[in-house]
């Protein structure tokens, strides 16, 4: 009952804000840009004459087909999602401090744990919905662009790649929530996010990405090649542990810290 009320309250706050609209628009750019790449790759000369790319543009090797399209989409969800999902999380937790409403959530019959859990439920729900939305928009854009290489098997593997990358990214959000609390607002968790995105690139380039939780979603999506070559069971385990640690610390922080502001 307490959790239901808290989820209702969090969902209402989310619905009434501009966050769902802006984050949906932001992440929806990924399949649109992906489609644009496909148009360019299909016929670079036509793209030049249409002004889609500059005359000096050097295109990265690639072919305009469904496997490439899904591969780019998976990377976009892994990297773009890391930022957009973090914005959602930073807002859901951080706004309680910037709007000075956190103190209204502390002395209630609804335990703080239920309120924190409700925030995570709403974040998970919306970020998962965004992942699915982006994938569906991708299917529509890919069809419009008319690229070859479609198959039922590819659809299944692409679903696993894109949605899996989304889920792994979502699992890393608790630390963003933790820093929103510790930093009393939205900016510190965004700083944390930028740091982890940068470190994820370095870890992946230096070959340690499978051991660095924030590198794993992009490697899972196939950004560097077939994921079996780059990540293993230990990579999933380390993401799970990072997620669990973030959750435990966030709950602990809300329960035990001095809320003096």
């Amino acid at each position: 009952m307490n959790l239901t009320s808290a989820v209702w309250a969090e969902a209402l706050k989310m619905r009434r804000s501009m966050v769902p609209l802006f984050t949906a628009l932001g992440l929806s750019l990924a399949p649109v840009v992906d489609g644009l790449f496909m148009i360019i790759l299909k016929d670079p000369e036509a793209a030049r004459s249409m002004g889609l790319i500059g005359s000096k543009a050097q295109l990265v090797a690639g072919v305009a087909d469904w496997p490439t399209f899904f591969n780019v989409l998976g990377q976009a969800v892994a990297v773009g999602g890391a930022i957009v999902f973090a914005i959602i999380t930073a807002w859901v937790f951080g706004r309680e401090f910037s709007d000075r409403t956190a103190k209204e959530l502390l002395a209630l019959p609804t335990p703080r744990e239920s309120i924190v859990a409700a925030k995570f439920v709403v974040i998970a729900g919306w970020t998962l919905a965004l992942t699915v939305l982006v994938f569906l928009i991708g299917l529509g854009v890919g069809s419009l662009v008319d690229i070859p290489g479609w198959s039922g098997e590819l659809l299944w593997s692409a679903t696993v790649d894109v949605v899996g990358a989304g889920v792994l990214t979502i699992l890393l959000l608790p630390f963003v929530a933790l820093f929103a609390g510790i930093g009393h607002g939205e900016l510190p968790p965004m700083g944390w996010t930028i740091l982890t995105v940068a470190l994820a690139q370095i870890a992946a380039v230096t070959g340690w990405g499978d051991w660095f939780p924030w590198s794993v979603p992009a490697l899972f999506s196939g950004a560097a090649g077939p994921r079996a070559e780059f990540i293993g069971v230990h990579s999933y385990l380390i993401i799970f542990l990072a997620s669990l640690a973030g959750l435990v610390l966030t709950f602990q922080w809300w329960r035990n810290t001095d809320h003096a502001k």
Binding site: M1, N2, S5, A6, W8, A9, L12, K13, R16, S17, D99, R100, T101, A102, K103, E104, L105, L106, A107, L108, P109, T110, P111, R112, I115, R255, N256, D258, H259, A260
Partner: protein
Amino acid sequence: MSNYTIETDLLTKRYGSVLAVDAVSLRVKPGEIYGFLGLNGAGKTTTIRALLGMIRPSAGHVKILGEALGANGRGPWARVGHLVESPGVYPELTVRENLEVARRLQSFSDREATSGVIDLLSLGPYADRKAGTLSTGNLQRLGLARAILHEPELLILDEPANGLDPAGVVEVRELLRRLAEEKGVTVFMSSHILTEVDRLATRIGIIHQGRLIEELDTNKLEELRAKRLEVRTRNLEAAQLSLKSAGYKFILEDGILLTTDAHALEHPDDIARILVNAGDPPTRLAIEQQNLEDHFLQITRDPSKQAVADAQTMPASREIGV
């Protein structure tokens, strides 16, 4: 079983080297309206946050409605309404939605409560307006509405009249008085508006530099409210000596001789006679009565005056830590 609605034992809160609250022992009985006074930074809000389980005491204990607060902030919050500092509201939600969120999080089943409290706090015209567009006064009303929405037994209010216009101040004063008198609600309120506290509170505590330096009920305050005899003469030192020889202890302060001696207050003519006989007749002789504001400023501003105030209010001071 505790007979107090609020009970703290040597409540202490330290932030590093800063002692924000120093061994405060409070007792608030059911149905009381307790005014909690203090200058900025005196420790009022820290005490209030400790009463609400928002911060953990460095030492001491807090009991609310007979229940000791847990380390994790658990307490009998369904029976407590609060307003801490300026009310925090969700600006994108309407007034009604803000209250509905509060009702649900309070697990209060009466769905009509939201409409009821909107009427009670005269928020009807703004009910469907976004809270972010409200004036400071109406935000305060919304905060108060949220505090009383679930019909609590105890209200803990930090500056409840903050931002209200004069009519609003009277309205809220009457509302709190009605809640206390008709429904037996205990009110613990801090305020800077001393006249409000003076008019409303049945008991007053003054916190200064983290310490509860005085506690008095308003009846005692009426009785003891620092009546003092002020005397001026051409030669103050000589007059002070003459009066001392006659058994009256006057202190010399800012060019005035002062005493709170009961006999002197009842017989100022006697003082005049002593001075005339000593060849130093008074140029001014007056009985002055402080109000709460004077009293408060006197004991919080000047440590030397605090000793005078302590002496004046000794019977009330004995209540500290009762």
